[in-house]
């Protein structure tokens, strides 16, 4: 294999390949910006999805626990940040309003660990009752959890207004750190400034890189190996003295923490959260990203997330002529949904193990029905 990124390749080639990749990633938003900020936005959202997919990959890919309610943790992170960084709490709760008349404004250095922690707790909480279940049953129960969370998000505007119901929470602060407000464009020189979307791009890119490092370290750690042992044969893993209960809870919690952080970032980036962003379809899409890309394989998962999140947005721009051809019946959103559905079916029929599967492990994926 002539892959300059893997350890077998010559040292110089490896360094050169990584440098080129890094430069390309750093330059990407500036290139995209040439076509308009909307394209940078697409890249931003793609990075958030990469993080989500990496988190879910810990649960599904490493530990073999199929979680169809993953978006609940994304929601937990987003609502956490929305509550802590918008006037909503101060306006609706007198006590909080008195303590923080200008609303609570958290710094990035608190937001990220807090989102990770709260989502991890939620993950462990939701994971605990499902420990005995596997496969389809687990999938269905987690799906039920996701729906329960969504129903609560939708209805918790009464009797106490916590989530503002279907209307959602707006006026969420942008991310600020070191005095830099990512919500405002940054003037470099008089005639060149970096727009907010690009600033977010760099923040998200940094988070994704940290996530990838954590995931690949986890994969080779004792915990990662133990997860894979559970995935391959839970009874054998238990017999070898692994504490399967704690390990599964840990997988749920670790995966969820990624979801929480991306959720918080999503809230800050959009400035608005509502239950609509956290539908079951969203969970399904994240599972599809992991499975389409190549379950349990970090590059595959990244590929799947980038493809499935950016392709539909890109298609939006080519859908115009098609819409005219079909008298407006086939508009952009319908077209992208159609193509995503077809992609899910066709890719699975042609490559049941994903577009870029892991080279060796993953026997459980080949288990016969």
């Amino acid at each position: 294999m002539n892959n300059p990124f893997v350890p077998g390749a010559p040292r110089a080639a490896r360094i050169a390949a990584w440098l080129v990749a890094a430069l390309l990633l750093l330059a990407l938003p500036h290139g995209l910006q040439y076509f308009g900020n909307a394209w940078v936005r697409i890249a931003d959202l793609a990075l958030l999805y990469v993080m989500l997919a990496l988190g879910l990959n810990i649960v599904v890919g490493y530990a073999g626990l199929l979680d169809l309610g993953y978006v609940a943790f994304y929601a937990v992170g987003a609502y956490l940040f929305a509550l802590l960084a918008s006037p909503h709490l101060s306006e609706n709760f007198a006590a909080i309003g008195a303590a923080f008349p200008d609303g609570v404004h958290l710094s990035l250095w608190l937001v990220i660990p807090l989102a990770a922690l709260v989502a991890a707790l939620a993950g462990a909480l939701l994971g605990a009752p499902t420990l005995k279940l596997r496969g389809d049953y687990l999938a269905i129960v987690t799906l039920g959890f996701g729906e329960i969370v969504r129903i609560f998000m939708n209805n918790l505007d009464r009797p106490v207004n916590l989530t503002n119901g279907p209307k959602g929470i707006g006026q969420i602060d942008s991310v600020k750190f070191f005095g830099l407000d990512l919500g405002k464009r940054l003037s470099v020189t008089d005639d060149y400034d970096i727009p907010a979307v690009t600033l977010y791009y760099y923040l998200f890119l940094a988070l994704v890189i940290v996530s990838i490092v954590i995931c690949s370290r986890l994969q080779d750690s004792r915990i990662g190996r133990a997860w894979m042992a559970i995935r391959e044969d839970e009874i054998a893993a238990k017999a070898m003295g692994l504490n399967t209960r704690n390990l599964k809870l840990l997988a749920f919690a670790m995966g969820a923490s990624f979801g929480g952080v991306s959720g918080a970032m999503f809230g800050a980036f959009q400035g608005f959260v509502s239950p609509e962003s956290f539908s079951l379809m969203e969970s399904v899409m994240i599972v599809a990203m992991v499975v389409l890309g190549g379950i349990g394989h970090i590059p595959g998962v990244v590929l799947g997330a980038v493809l499935l999140s950016s392709l539909p947005e890109v298609l939006r721009y080519v859908a115009g002529p098609l819409q005219q051809m079909t008298d407006g019946r086939l508009d952009a959103s319908i077209l992208r949904q159609l193509l995503i559905a077809l992609a899910m079916i066709v890719v699975m029929l042609l490559r049941p193990r994903g577009l870029w599967p892991a080279p060796d492990h993953g026997r459980v994926l080949e288990e016969k029905v």
């Binding site: 005995k132 049953y137 269905i140 129960v141 994926l365 288990e367 029905v369």
Partner: protein, 309 residues
Amino acid sequence: MDILLQQVINGLVLGSVYALVALGYTMVYGIINLINFAHGEVLMVGALTSWSMIGLMQEAMPWAPGWLVLLLSVLIACVVAAALNFVIEKIAYRPLRNAPKLATLITAIGVSLLLQTLAMIVWKPNVKVYPTLLPSQPFALGGAVITPTQVVILALTAISLAVLMWLVHFTRLGRAMRATAENPRVAALMGVKPDLVISATFVIGAVLAAIAGVMYAANYGTAQHTMGFLPGLKAFTAAVFGGIGNLGGAVLGGILLGLIESIGSGYIGALTGGVLGSNYADIFAFVVLIVILTLRPSGLLGERVADRA
């Protein structure tokens, strides 16, 4: 007391819809261990097909009485749904029968999304008013009321169940289905053609789902391309509740779930002092699902264990 009786009636009607859909899930799962995620969409296609047919027929033959139009539209909806499910199985599920399980799950989700999108293109995304074709004057029943549509739903469910039970227990096809569910390889050795049996299962499931879809639309008076998702999910819950793979269990689970949901949403306001309202109705199915699966993973009448990947 009157409220209770009313909610029981509503629950039975809702439960019979769930039961019919749950049978489709449970038969498919019993034979090929696949959660057919697209099953709710078959219900939706059935309902929308019958809606279109009713429109066409009311124009073409204005003399026809309501019940005849409804009956014909149900029959056509069944045929369309059956053909659709037959094709889906052949194209999307059959090639993956020996593939990784997750791949099949993703395909099924893809099919579900595809059907919703196609329905949106064919029928446009707006909500359709499903016409009331039967007399709308309700009968008094104790302190509660029951509409003719609801009576027909209950009767139709009973007939469908009777036909299905006869089919499964007293015909060659039924024996072949039971044999394949027990052990496909041995069944094949005994001269059963598993592919044929699986196709037949999908067709039967689709017919039941289409009937359920028409009844669901008739009961609520609306139809839309997204209408299949929630009943599909709840019917699956019902199937798991009753013990997946078990036909009687699916019916029992469906009826019980309908009752729990109906009675629960009728009383949740009073029980929680108005804190939680009937907008939490959808929560019951999922709570039941989680409780059942954690306490009794094999369901009420099931023998299978949940510990299969």
